[in-house]
């Protein structure tokens, strides 16, 4: 795989500190075109910080993020802006604009970046909402929706512009198993049809197993393990096994 294709996203020895806290401590990760990489790890392992680096929301202290050969960490604001148009990102709580209706939220990126007619935009909005299993919510305000529905609207908004790279920040946290399965199906469906590259962060192993080509385990600011799902489950690392079985790892046991 390594010789013929150039990675879509390369993360090269990424280091990021907040105050005295070294959250990312030399992360290396490559994501191939069309590949789905899922980064798992405990709360506070730096997952969100990592994914926000991929789109330039954070700038690293050291290291580089290279997207399609362009170094995001050194790019001018204009180039970075153009590059971001190829991304779609869904946020933990949906991050919907609470002053706008669901329809306007999903239409927002379309109105900004796509030169389409009013009808074409409305059609695309409905299509995206159907894709995430939502009907009859177009005229509602985000505050009227449940947490899971808000997340799915955020998801519809992220795919509205048919991005090449999708980033999911905890797409299923707080969702019931059926909705989790639906999200997994949507992600897999999009990958089949559009050759989309995706990076997902989650602590939901069930989701990771369903959508990942490769699973990366993040711990103490480094990639601890990286393997396809079936191999990942067999890894001998005690922390990975503890994570899979939902137990407290031996080196972390504390007396209360």
């Amino acid at each position: 795989m390594e010789a013929q294709a150039q990675p879509e996203i390369s993360v090269i020895s990424l280091v990021k500190s907040f105050g005295p806290n070294r959250v990312l401590d030399g992360v290396d990760l490559e994501v191939m075109p069309g590949e789905s990489v899922v980064v798992v790890g405990g709360s506070g392992a730096g997952k969100t910080v990592l994914i926000k680096h991929l789109i330039g929301l954070y700038l690293p202290d050291e290291g580089h993020v290279v997207v399609d050969g362009v170094d995001l960490t050194a790019a001018s604001p204009e180039i970075a802006l153009e590059l971001r148009k190829r991304f779609g990102m869904s946020f933990q709580e949906g991050a919907l604009f609470d002053s706008m209706t669901v329809f306007d939220n999903v239409a927002f990126p379309l109105r900004r970046h796509a030169r389409r007619s009013r009808e074409a935009i409305a059609e695309r909005v409905r299509q995206c909402l159907r894709l995430v299993g939502l009907d009859d919510v177009e005229s509602k305000m985000p505050a009227e929706l449940s947490g899971g529905m808000r997340r799915r609207v955020g998801f519809a908004r992220a795919i509205a512009l048919e991005p090449e790279i999708l980033l999911f920040d905890e797409p299923t946290t707080g969702l019931d198993p059926i909705n989790t399965a639906r999200i997994a199906a949507v992600i897999n469906g999009m990958r089949r049809h559009l050759q989309i590259t995706s990076v997902t962060i989650t602590h939901d192993m069930n989701l990771a197993m369903r959508i990942a080509d490769r699973i990366a385990m993040l711990r103490h600011g480094r990639i601890l393990a990286l393997a396809p799902p079936d191999e990942f489950a067999e890894l001998p690392d005690p922390y990975v096994q503890a994570f899979l079985s939902g137990e407290v790892p031996e080196d972390e046991e504390e007396t209360p």
Binding site: L57, F87, G88, F97
Partner: protein, 256 residues
């Protein structure tokens, strides 16, 4: 001694950080004002909020200020038989000083705080990150219309305040103390120069800039959830009002 130095150093660092944020937002909003896309809808919305919606507050504030000015000066000037100059004092103090400063202080409380609260909420719910991820520059979309409409609207509000305040003074002097109506109008304009009004308007535009940039930068750099939003809102009013009063002194020194 060391502890004292340490806390002094921390305070200075904090101050420098605040100043840095203020000037960064100010510079960025200049930069993004001149670049497309322009946001006519957002501009209009903010102009209504800052300008039109503030008219009642400005009306009452300047009305009563004009009235109390006439009341106080009439009582004082009576002692050396200079009641005739009440009109000039009212007109000059209002146009040069009171209308711009009081208008700005009221708008800082009304609008500067709501800017901080709105942007702060958007920050902590990742809506600003979402904008950025959708390749929309948050400063351009959120800050530029707010700062721009404040700079435009404050002088207009001040102009209204000038007129209402002078009218308030007239009501007291003529209605309550029985001054000559014709003479009052005559004295109002006799010593007033164009520069008195324009310098007041220039100050107002500058205050509009200061209060909106303060509100926006406080909101933009909010952290720490609901409590953080509360802190940002308070700080926006306090810092905004202080900067208005401090810059008023230096502006007056320069402009006259």
């Amino acid at each position: 001694m060391i502890a004292w130095l340490e806390s002094f150093g921390l305070m200075m660092l904090h101050l420098l950080e605040e100043l840095g944020r203020f000037f960064y937002i100010a510079a960025q909003s200049f930069l993004w004002t001149v670049r497309p896309p322009f946001e006519p809808r957002e501009w209009l919305k903010q102009m209504v909020r800052v300008g039109y919606d503030s008219i009642p507050v400005v009306f009452l504030t300047t009305m009563f200020t004009g009235m109390v000015l006439a009341l106080q000066t009439y009582r004082g000037f009576e002692r050396f038989h200079a009641e005739g100059f009440v009109a000039s004092v009212v007109a000059l103090s209002l146009t040069r000083e009171l209308a711009p400063v009081l208008t700005a202080l009221m708008v800082a409380g009304r609008v500067g705080s709501s800017m901080a609260a709105e942007l702060g909420t958007m920050r902590v719910t990742e809506q600003i990150d979402a904008l950025y991820a959708m390749a929309v520059e948050p400063v351009q979309y959120l800050v530029v219309p707010r700062v721009g409409s404040s700079v435009l609207m404050l002088p207009l509000l001040t102009l209204i305040g000038d007129a209402i305040g002078i009218l308030g003074g007239y009501v007291i002097a003529v209605g309550l103390f029985g001054a000559n109506s014709y003479l009052y109008w005559d004295r109002t304009f006799q010593y007033m120069e164009v520069n008195d009004v324009t310098s007041g308007l220039i100050k107002a535009a500058f205050f509009g800039f200061v209060l909106s940039v303060t509100g926006c930068s406080k909101g933009f750099y909010t952290s720490g959830g609901a409590e953080g939003v509360g802190r940002a809102t308070t700080a926006a009013v306090v810092m905004g009002s202080l900067s208005i009063l401090l810059s008023d002194f230096f502006l007056t020194k320069i402009l006259f």
